[in-house]
Symmetry: C2
Subunit: 401 residues, 2 copies
Amino acid sequence: MKAAGLVVEYNPFHNGHQYHLDQSLARTKADIAVGVMSGNFLQRGEPALVNKWARTKMALKAGVDLIVELPFVHAVQKAEYFSEAAILLLEELQCEWVCFGSEKGEIEPFTNTYALLAEHADLIDQQAKTFMNAGHSYPKAMALAYAELKKNYPDMLTLDQPNNILGFHYVSAILKNKLSIKPITIQRTGSGYHDAALPKDSIASATAIRKEITADGSLKDVARFLPGASYDVLRDYQEEMRLWHTWDLYWPYVKLKLLTTSPSALKDIYEMKEGLENRLVTAAQTSATFLEFMQKVKTKRYTWTRLQRLLTYLLMNITNDDIPHTLKPTYIRVLGFSQKGREYMQSLKKEKGHLLLTRPAAANDPILSIEQRAANVHASILPAEMWQKVQKREYQPPVII
Amino acid sequence: MKAAGLVVEYNPFHNGHQYHLDQSLARTKADIAVGVMSGNFLQRGEPALVNKWARTKMALKAGVDLIVELPFVHAVQKAEYFSEAAILLLEELQCEWVCFGSEKGEIEPFTNTYALLAEHADLIDQQAKTFMNAGHSYPKAMALAYAELKKNYPDMLTLDQPNNILGFHYVSAILKNKLSIKPITIQRTGSGYHDAALPKDSIASATAIRKEITADGSLKDVARFLPGASYDVLRDYQEEMRLWHTWDLYWPYVKLKLLTTSPSALKDIYEMKEGLENRLVTAAQTSATFLEFMQKVKTKRYTWTRLQRLLTYLLMNITNDDIPHTLKPTYIRVLGFSQKGREYMQSLKKEKGHLLLTRPAAANDPILSIEQRAANVHASILPAEMWQKVQKREYQPPVII
């Protein structure tokens, strides 16, 4: 059996994801699709709109055969780490290909760009430092340095689109680590990654879909952008949980923590540096809502995404000790599978069976214990009995369809 | 002007409190009544049903002339420390008397008991240790040792009533510190301190009143136990805040904290000892509600009250460093006053003016900063905008009637 790997968040699974999945299988003629998915918290430092079990179900119903979890410590990270950790997982899972979306759907610009950047690494570093000294954030400074180099090499990738950035890091991870997995890129269709408005056709960005769902809590205006099974899972989730997981609802926890913890203790939080702790405490004292707080703390240097990740670490109480030194997986947590996915796992058993984990009951891996913490924190905004129920879900078998 | 001092929590102010206030003024013929009141968290480790501003208003409307705050670090403490800190505050406020309720209304048993206990201190200590080794909690062991001594001295106080216990500690604090304030005791009328059922007459315990209010959220069944002004304050509070402050509502914060903090970090919390941290974490993992959790962690040794205080410290993030080494006040925080209260403060100005604090805006006293934390934590269960409003109240002038 040959597997096509996908790096996903499915927040929620929509028609654009369906298109990408179908194209990936068609292009590679793979027997199955394997998804590495962020768990309850996402790369950009946000709680997933619905928990990982609901998102796994959506993926399986749409035709993904196996969903494994990208651990929290690797998922809630800048694009570079997130991408490399995900690719390393797909390699461990012996996927033949990784299929990712990009604006143009050609793989050569990715590989060429990697080569050019390796060749000019010192120059890029030097120029990025100059831009950072001028007050730009690290990602912005890198982008500006990159743009300078691109003037001389116009065929280099356009790296101002999230999909291109992630794709570039996937390809880099493969080339850097000399992996056997092959990168394939599928041209994106429909709306841009960040587009906030709903388009007229049937493909909208996950951002736009979430915005619409959370604006009035209703699913009715987004039905046409979702496969029927996704819609059903979301509707069932809402009926059971009576809410969508958004930062606003976690804000009281973050605020209380900021207002009851000394700045010196806050400095123990991963990525809390450069006096940010004082800045956060001061803003928390005068902010009623999450939005108000974020607007107060955001700067060019401390981007929205970086701050969201930091607040996720704070909410989760993640310290430096919690972050492993390597991106290589120490286990592979299976969140769900189809019959074909089960067969694929059987075929992996001889070589990789010791890594596969379908029930974490007896696990004492520190990375996995953080997953249990994430499940707890994600569920903490639910009513007491529901929280307890979801907490227990963490120790039950994967989703099987 | 001569002042009668009262040590109060007024949670909420009811007819029994009115009787005690009126009797205190009548018996002493004092010009004014001064109340030392616990702030937003109470001696037995509970959030006050309504915040300190609402409770101050009830007290002033009932005829107390001056309400000062017993700091959190002294209020949320065992009876011995609570009582001594309160008495030291009343002494600083130059009160002529402290008036407390007791079962019999006679002061001699209190002073005699103090003398007998001083005389037999070693014997009591020794017997208490024996009872603790047999598995009893500290308070229970002390009570049993006390009962042994009382067999030989039948006139000693009956110390199984909270009012007698507090009264005994007030008198002890006065005699031990050789204070000039004089103890007066008023015989209690109506229901017992802890009685949970509502009686037929107009005096019910605060416990019974809270139980009735929080059971269905309604004030209608408790109106006959409250002065009209108390009723109005509670009704206005409910209309504005839409809730009563009970442990259930703070439970998600405590649970989240227990499930995201390592046991070694939990040990930094004041009074977290003897491996309690592991016991709490384990119970939190399997408890949906506060009640369920408490039933799991309670033992003979770790009494309900002791655990509630510990959870208050946890919620507030109180460490050993936060607790001052002395019970003597470093400032006197005024929460509210009447016209007569204002005149009394003027008369204190020459000697004690430097201690009186009516607006803590510029305060950098560490004890006062904990009061601000307590105000924040107490308000944290309110909707975002209301939380912010109550938080600001902390920096505004006292209640004046």
